[in-house]
Symmetry: C2
Subunit: 213 residues, 2 copies
């Protein structure tokens, strides 16, 4: 598949959303989707859908719509998620617990293979009540060792903001490839590590910008 | 301030991130920031920072950098968050609880004025242990009435995916202006309602795209 050198960030974001909507269609046993249907499900317009897919060559057959299963496969291929990615979650409070039980991670080849906390004994009791799937919880001091043994490539930070940069440094030292930071404090990492800061306030800021303008 | 008619979505997203970084600078008592410093904190390049701000006129003084406080004010003005926004959270499991104690909401004029659950008595016990700031919890059947009385403009959905569309419909019926959906199931709403689906898998998809390409 021909890949264009420069895909807009917004297109990459929308691909993820298309994927979610395609899964929804698959769950409803729909085999084919028009760009109009997909657009409607994803809250964009149909021209945008076609334009986004045009970056990656032709997916649909004119007048026939998209094959749901094929399109899903292609998007996963583009995003690089057609294989399993091993993840560690650091900080098992409310947010960390929510991620440990987030069923969609598994569906998407995201496997949380270890969790870390400064008080693993306490959090084992705290989360065992509500978790179906067990994830082993380690003291955060064992981060580097466990990242290596369990081949963790991505670390998710869900510690309090005051601890976020320290944990980010530990993850860098442990040689993860990417970091997703859920704490409300921005962290910095060296350029060779991929980082996403996910601030809930940003999601609201964005919503409100479009509400206000 | 002159506003250009069409600001790229990615710029709007970055404005939120700049805001977080400016707060960080303010906490460290920094009065002025260069575009290079801001860029470094926000993991973008300095040219991008200057380009983003150029959409909204001149913020900085050449060679002098940006006044942190002023820039923060201007970004908030652009995003429409220089006033308080009242929010209701529906579904008080791990994720809902995490949002109720998310300190950054208050800093940003986001005020959670009510929470809703199908079992408010149970969740009161569940969250009262870990919450500093009390938020009144109502049965979800009272959503429409409470949205009106407490002037809630934005609803955040944190219920299980099977209930998400039902809650979205109830929020539309209750006349909120915007909806932020944290459940992993995409929801649809009429065009006059602003909607953001925030999927954690999308944040990972995005990270991995840039890891893989």
């Amino acid at each position: 598949m021909a890949k264009y050198p420069k895909i807009p960030e917004a297109t990459i974001r929308r691909l993820s959303n298309y994927l979610k909507c395609l899964e929804d269609l698959e769950n409803r046993n729909e085999k084919v989707s028009s760009s109009a249907l997909l657009a409607n499900m994803c809250n964009v317009n149909a021209a945008q859908v076609r334009k986004d897919f045009a970056y990656f060559g032709e997916f649909g057959i004119r007048g026939m719509g998209y094959n749901v299963k094929e399109l899903k496969f292609n998007i996963k291929e583009i995003l690089g998620i057609n294989r399993e990615w091993k993840i560690g979650v650091i900080g098992i409070g409310n947010m960390g617990s929510a991620l440990l039980v987030y069923k969609d991670f598994l569906k998407q080849n995201y496997k949380i293979v270890a969790a870390f906390d400064i008080d693993p004994v306490k959090v084992i009791g705290h989360i065992s009540e509500r978790m179906g799937r067990p994830v082993e919880i380690f003291h955060v001091d064992r981060l580097k060792e466990v990242v290596k043994v369990r081949e963790i490539e991505i670390g998710i930070i869900t510690v309090p903001p005051s601890e976020a940069q320290k944990v980010a440094n530990q993850l860098v030292d442990a040689n993860v490839k990417g970091i997703l930071n859920f704490s409300p404090s921005p962290v910095s990492v060296p350029k060779h590590i991929r980082l996403r800061n996910l601030f809930f306030t940003s999601a609201l800021d964005n919503l409100i910008y479009y509400l206000s303008n």
